[in-house]
């Protein structure tokens, strides 16, 4: 399908982005205008309206099939873009529900009230009393989501880089704002910032080389240039591609660019960890696929084995190191690395969807489905993590969860559901996701990769089973002293219930979302 350049800006098509940006900007103004005591509520309302309006426009635009290239070729509105925008917006809404949960923290947010104060100091107490709070969190999250949406739809290098920075910078900040265990949180923020900026710089350097090679900033033009290049194997091209991919793989958390993930996941406030685990990953996966499937389509035979190799390393490193973890958040971090590997399995297949007798979900749709299933389980699992607490904050040692399933059967059962979905056990959405991704890989000629992925799934399954075993079969002991499940408000429960229902329903009857994903199976070239 050839695409025509739309010269007149189509505000309607870009409305989701514009609305979200506007909501974030209003959020910043709210900080200056509204009184301290009311800010949190005001922020929640502003960002809620912004997100819902943006989501509504996304759905409406997709219904009207507003496909095309916008903003002078820098943003492409196609099926994957719409799908991932929807996913990002829903994930952000759920994240904000976790962010504004107060009941768990006896009236305070999960975030530090005053980042410059020492934990437990009079300054902090004063801040708490005067309801000084970092309510900037809401606009920061919105800016970040805005950046991710742009990132997933960007088709020129500059836009992609700007989007990368727009979503990364708020995340660096958000990581450092944990109320409890603040040093860890600030360390995480610094680590993430240092490594993230390095990755960004590498990415930028790569784009510069690719510009030098193709003479254009457009990802689409890169494909044409490669096709026209009779000789192939241009060193500028190779170097540029490698550097750009390093930048993208870093954001997804693919081995060997994964080392930031565990530390940052542990240090960041749990709602933000959940947000990073799903939103950052989803946006970066789509951006990576866009670069590979659109910009580097002529080089498919070259990059497929590389992606397959990375998939194998990532799956196994994530799964095996995950086995040794004793901290819940760290464990989930390594699990997210393993999942990045499974996603790469699907990317490596690179087959397009087919319908009718040759029915096949195709790589893109199956990955979109996988991301949705993974997102549901991730948000649900982290939401439960926020509820298990002791005096010093969340009790994230695995040992502290001993016997939890027996004392709180409902919570235990829900956590088990999410863990089973991670493990890809049938009757959960995670299974259908894995099945579709592996089918796509096999159809793309990577049967051996499917075999490796199945073995890695077995190793990874042990991580989750151990978790389940601790919750149900280990008796509460010293490690669990003072640990209790705090009463959460409707906000956290909404997230947990929605995710649980979604995980179960999609596991039994995946067609509604699956069909939607199939509608989103083609990147506009």
């Amino acid at each position: 399908m050839m695409t025509q350049l739309v010269v007149q800006p189509d505000y309607r098509a870009l409305a989701p982005l514009i609305i979200l940006f506007a909501a974030a900007a209003v959020g910043v103004l709210v900080e200056g205008i509204i009184k301290k005591g009311l800010r949190d509520e005001a922020q929640l309302i502003v960002s809620g309206i912004g997100l819902l309006a943006s989501l509504a426009f996304t759905i409406q635009n997709w219904n009207q099939d507003r496909l095309g290239v916008h903003a002078e070729g820098s943003l492409t509105m196609d099926g994957p873009t719409y799908f991932i925008w929807g996913l990002l917006l829903v994930a952000t809404i759920l994240t904000l529900l976790l962010v504004s949960e107060r009941k768990l923290n006896s009236g305070a947010l999960n975030f530090t009230p005053y980042a410059a104060s020492v934990p437990g100091s009079p300054l902090e107490a004063k801040a708490f009393q005067s309801r000084t709070e970092h309510t900037e969190i809401y606009p920061l999250v919105l800016f970040s989501t805005f950046g991710m949406m742009m990132f997933a739809s960007a088709t020129d290098w500059i836009t992609m880089f700007v989007a990368l920075e727009v979503f990364s910078l708020p995340l660096y900040l958000l990581c450092g704002l944990a109320r409890r265990r603040r040093l860890l949180s600030q360390e995480a923020a610094l680590k993430y910032f240092m490594l993230g900026s390095l990755a960004s710089a590498i990415f930028l350097y790569g784009t510069a080389l690719l510009y030098g090679y193709s003479g254009s900033l457009s990802i689409r033009m890169l494909a044409q240039r490669i096709q026209a290049d009779a000789e192939g194997g241009n060193s500028l091209l190779v170097a540029g591609v490698v550097l750009v991919l390093v930048g993208l793989l870093f954001k997804i958390g693919v081995v060997p660019f994964h080392s930031w993930t565990p530390d940052v996941y542990v240090g960041a406030p749990t709602p933000i960890t959940a947000y990073m685990a799903i939103a950052t990953k989803a946006a970066a996966v789509i951006a990576l696929m866009r670069v590979l499937y659109v910009g580097l389509a002529p080089l498919q035979w070259t990059w497929q084995p590389v992606v397959a190799g990375l998939a194998v390393i990532t799956m196994f490193v994530g799964a095996i190191i995950g086995l040794t973890q004793t901290d819940v958040k760290r464990l989930l971090a390594y699990s997210s690395i393993a999942h990045a590997g499974f996603i790469l399995v699907g990317i490596a297949g690179a087959v397009t969807a087919a319908t009718g007798n040759h029915a096949l979900a195709g790589s893109t749709s199956s990955i979109l489905f996988y991301l949705s299933a993974y997102g549901l389980a991730t948000l649900g699992a982290f939401a439960i993590v926020t509820m298990v607490r002791r005096a010093g904050g969340e009790a994230t040692q695995l040992a502290a969860w001993s016997g939890l399933g027996r004392q709180h059967p409902v919570l235990g059962a829900l956590m088990t559901l999410f863990l089973l979905s991670f493990a890809g056990i049938p009757l959960t959405a995670g299974f259908i996701g894995k099945l579709e991704v592996f089918l796509a890989a096999w159809a793309g000629g990577y049967a051996w990769l499917v075999f490796a992925a199945v073995i890695a799934s077995l190793v990874a399954a042990y991580i989750y089973l151990r978790f389940i075993m601790v919750m149900f079969f280990r008796d509460a002991g010293e490690a669990t002293e003072g640990v209790q499940v705090e009463q959460a408000s409707w906000m956290t429960w909404t997230v947990i219930i929605l995710c649980a229902v979604g995980t179960l329903v999609l596991g039994l009857w995946s067609s509604p979302l699956g069909d939607l994903a199939i509608r989103a199976s083609e990147f506009l070239r």
Partner: protein, 500 residues
């Protein structure tokens, strides 16, 4: 599309399970039992309907994008396994009526709820005519089974549950590879479908086909415990509650042999024939090794699980001999073994609950204190050694008679195991039940079976004898099924009495 009897049959236990979870105490127990009895009635109805030739099958599109269907079937083998499942579960529930009373145990209603959930998933498994649907429930059965093992039973039950789960999961994931393989290959051959009938029409002769077959076979071999992947069973059965072991060995492990027929033979006739020599040897090793280990077992629960390894070997032998008689025998054996294992596990459960141990040397002279218990133990044991008149005899005889025509030497060696089985059953009986009453037994065992326990054993023994004396009632259904499988592999029955 008529009345969806099969769907309702499989959903009734699931609904019952959810209700039973929510209720506490006796209300939960009776609700659970009620639903299992309703399921049994529905199962019997479905069986009779299918026997009279009604086609109960249901087919709907499930995930269109990959060609998966919600397809349930009602052929002879399916209905036999359905009957086994719905009959065993209520008996197990009655036998485990007080399972939650011990210290540190989970409540009884949870056990009942999990058993019902397992029943529902197993029924779906047996009725699935779609590979993906089958796989879905094949894996799903692990979840309730895991908790059934880990929630009650011996002190090392957590580790036992994990071992069971890891073995099963390994098999399951290897099978996932194969399920994906058939799906992708079907799509590449022009018809994306997971329906068994569609797949049977495809050609899987290539090396890829053999690899895919291998994935299925490994999964089923782990499930049906075959040597060398049987090691999980004795360890699990030793720690699990006898009721849970009954569900595991009596019902769940049948999915292994069932799957070999339904998937390995039907979809991959070429690969199945190609691997036959290896499988027959493995089956033979299972038969003999299982029997020898049973003789040497120091724990009654381990003993029974080793006898099962031996018996499953017979079933596999019958299946891969590819004659109508032997396959029919294997299917009948699957049914018979379900009941005889249930009787053995449960009676030893009653025994071990009184004594607090299931070690062979913890007993002696029990017969003098609890004659009914000893008697039912003996009958259950005789059924396990395939005494004529018991159900197992019919199955074992048919397997041997059918396999003899094709593989006389292997079958000849296998018959040795019949002698060994007499040894392990009678030795166990002699050591535990006869002789002088030991001091520990005298202090621990005061009572014979009570009314509830008598009912459990009586029902099982009645079924075993009925099946042993009147096997004809299933022969038409099983014969049709067996003929179908023999046809699928493209073999013809050897002429009786003629040269091979």
């Amino acid at each position: 599309m008529g009345f969806p009897l099969l769907t309702i049959l499989a959903l009734v236990p699931l609904v019952g399970s959810l209700i039973t979870f929510a209720l506490k105490g006796n209300a939960g127990k009776y609700t659970g039992l009620f639903f299992s009895v309703v399921a049994a009635a529905l199962g019997l109805w479905a069986f009779i309907a299918a026997r009279n030739g009604t086609d109960l099958s249901e087919t709907h599109t499930w995930i269109e994008s990959i060609g998966a269907h919600y397809a349930l079937g009602s052929d002879g083998m399916t209905m036999i396994m359905v009957l086994l499942t719905v009959a065993v579960v209520p008996v197990v529930l009655i036998a485990e009526w007080f399972v939650g009373d011990g210290e540190g145990r989970w409540a009884t209603n949870v056990f009942f709820a999990l058993a019902l959930m397992l029943e529902s998933f197993a029924l779906f498994c047996f009725m699935s005519m779609d590979t993906l649907l089958f796989y879905l429930f094949f894996e799903a059965t692990l979840i309730p089974m895991y908790f059934l093992i880990g929630g009650w039973g011996g002190p090392r039950r957590g580790a036992a549950a994990l071992k069971f789960l890891l073995f099963s999961l390994a098999g399951g994931l290897v099978m996932l590879f194969s399920v994906i393989g058939v799906g992708a290959e079907a799509a590449s051959q022009g018809k994306a479908s997971f329906l068994v009938n569609d797949l049977a029409a495809l050609n899987f002769d290539s090396t890829t086909g053999k690899l895919i077959w291998l994935g299925f076979f490994i999964a089923f071999a782990i499930k049906a415990p075959m040597v060398p992947v049987h090691t999980w069973l004795p360890d699990t059965a030793e720690q699990a509650r006898p009721g849970a072991s009954t569900l595991l060995v009596g019902i769940l492990d049948k999915i292994g042999t069932f799957g070999m027929l339904r998937f390995c033979l039907t979809i991959f006739p070429e690969a199945s024939k190609w691997a036959t020599p290896v499988i027959l040897v493995l089956a033979l090793v299972s038969i003999v090794y299982g029997a020898l280990m049973a003789i040497g077992a120091k724990d009654l629960l381990r003993l029974i699980s080793y006898t099962s390894v031996s018996h499953f070997g017979f079933m596999v032998l019958g299946i891969f001999a590819f004659t109508t008689v032997s396959i029919q025998g294997a299917m009948y054996y699957m049914l018979a073994h379900g009941f005889s294992t249930a009787a053995l596990f449960l009676v030893i459960g009653f025994l071990a609950d009184r004594r607090g141990s299931a070690k062979v040397d913890a007993f002696g002279g029990v017969q003098k204190i609890a004659p009914v218990l000893a008697g039912t133990f003996l009958v259950a044991g005789l059924s396990a050694l395939s005494l004529p008149g018991t159900a197992s005899f019919v199955g074992e005889f048919l397997v041997i008679a059918g396999s003899w025509q094709r593989h006389p030497i292997i079958t000849g060696i296998a018959t040795i195991a019949m002698v060994l089985s007499a040894l392990y059953v009678l030795l166990a009986y002699q050591r535990t039940m006869t002789g002088p009453v030991t001091e520990q037994v005298a202090t621990a065992i005061h009572s014979d079976l009570d009314g509830r326990e008598k009912f459990v054993m009586g029902a099982l023994i009645a079924i075993i004898l009925a099946l042993g004396f009147y096997p004809q009632w299933t022969s038409d259904m099983l014969n049709t099924s067996a003929k179908h499988f023999v046809q699928q592999v493209g073999m013809t029955d050897p002429m009786p009495g003629g040269n091979r």
